[in-house]
């Protein structure tokens, strides 16, 4: 889709949407949001970029194939689940720092689990969309 307006808008929207996705990810523990929705918003940012500039330029922009995010994200989630077992707690027990960190808020194993989900969702969504884009060409 070759449109100057869309391309200009997409270039501004990409960082904004990515920031917004991180906001949704961090908000998600007690309020609506979380890793899954955040990941979808982040993938939408890249999909919009791909619509405006073509898939090749988005893939070049990403540097790595998005599929690589799937094992990384899954790995982070698994480790977040297994970590409490080092301290003698059952699998997936939520462990938290005592005091909230500035800006981020409360940090615990659940946050790392969600970050893992966030990465997996981006990886899966972009892999699917790029694959479809390649085969329809």
């Amino acid at each position: 889709m070759k449109s100057l307006i869309l391309r200009t808008a997409a270039n501004y929207l990409l960082p904004l949407l990515l920031l917004f996705s991180v906001f949704i990810l961090l908000r998600g523990h007690y309020l609506p949001g979380g890793g899954f929705v955040g990941g979808l918003v982040a993938s939408i940012a890249f999909v919009l970029h791909a619509f405006a500039n073509g898939t090749e330029s988005t893939q070049k922009f990403l540097a790595y194939h998005p599929g690589n995010m799937i094992p990384v994200g899954l790995g982070i989630s698994v480790l977040a689940g297994l970590f409490p077992m080092l301290l003698g707690e059952p699998f997936m027990t939520g462990l938290w720092f005592k005091d909230p960190l500035p800006v981020i808020g409360m940090v615990g194993t659940a946050l790392f689990f969600d970050i893992g989900v966030f990465l997996v969702v981006i990886g899966v969504t972009l892999t699917i969309i790029f694959t479809i884009a390649e085969t329809t060409k």
Partner: protein, 511 residues
Amino acid sequence: MSDIQIIWPIAFHLVAAVVLIGFWRRVDVQRYVSVVANIIAVGIAVWLFGKVWSNGVLVMQSGSWGAPFGITFVADTFSATMVLLTAISALAVSIFSAVSISKERMRYGYFSILHFLVMGLNGAFLTGDIFNMYVWFELIIISSFVLMTLGGERPQIEGAINYVTMNLLASVIFLTAIAILYGMVGTLNMADLSMKLAEEQNRGLVNATAILFFVGFGIKSAVFPLYFWLPSSYHTPPSAIAAIFGGLLTKVGVYALLRVFSLMFIPDEFMTNMLMAIAALTMFTGGVGALVQSNIRKMFSYLIICHIGFMIAGLGMYTELALLGAVFYLIHDIIIKTNLFLVSGVILKIKGTVDMKRLGGLYDEYPKISLLIAVILFSLVGIPPLSGFWPKLFLIQAGFDTRAFVLVAFVVVASFLTLFVIARMWSEVFWKKGSGTQEMDRPFTYFNELKPIKQAVFLAPLVLLAAVSLYIGFGAERIMQVALVIAHDLKDTSYYLQAVLGATHSNTPMP
């Protein structure tokens, strides 16, 4: 007794699957990682079994949320045995896959999906929460659907549509039953359900839910009359995949039936009669179905159905001896059915076909391999003292005790049908005059063209599983002790209930 380590059979396969996705493009590495991971998994399973055997029921409250509110994982002797058998089958399948699965399939994540599947199976065996069990069943279906369609050949897709439609239907029925249960008593923990359902006044609704559970799990374990998806799908994927399906996927349904009908719904007279009738028809139709097939894999698929009937028969009679027979049969069946499909894979590799009409002369060409396969087939048929003999003996004895003579007759008929089918296969495939190898329309490496080391790897899993089968047969006394403990625990669930609910009140503080 509380123990956080019992998550490892599940968590370890998850880690293995993630590592395998990390090696997405390196299929040569994936083989070794998968085989090594499965060897370690067997170690974990043996350790878990040993621990459960000496310490009794182990319980873990995931996330430290106490029962009945959180998801409880329970390892009793039954679960630990199933985890051990799964690990052995998965190891054999993984070794067999390393040499038999094509590179194209491996490139699309075959091994990581295999580990996800095994993780789902272990999860279903270890969970103590009925909704969590549903989630593990979904995981199993999704993984098995991917495995079944991987490669994208036309018959595969056709089979997979039958498979996934029926299994999704089963899942919907299962989920509906869970929803009714939750609406009725407001809990999902199986131990808690056991206590609350016993006190429930509305028996009509409880029995209706029991039937829903039976239909849901019945479709998954392929009992009469809802088994038709199995023979129309299991012969389509490669042998290694069919092996893990045939060995474990229907058995997880049987496991769930045994668990649910011992813990939550104690069968009344109507239920036991229904179970016995369905068991008899399952045995009969499966056996007759196997009789008319000339494709070896389709024949084995019908034999799976036939032998599911034996286990349902044990559940139907519902005495300790009958449950012992059912559990013993389950132990024997997982190993032998996995091995049967691996045998079909070896025959395909040697001859290029699994159609009995075009096969022949295997005994002349490969006498040693034929002997190995003979041991496996004899174990299946149950020539005393091999592994198939003992559970049938217990089932028949239990049948005489409960005066279920018709069922005994069906057990005997089904045993003879199996014997006849296998004897016919033996004479067609091994003794008939050889017809040479079949030409394939695609590039295909025959068994005699492989390097000797690869030939050995091809046969190693068969030898491994045959050895386990022989152990089950000759070490029947030890297997019987295990099955006896399991059958006793199924009849008398007080120990399970106390382990799950008692431990929470004393050990784990409410968060």
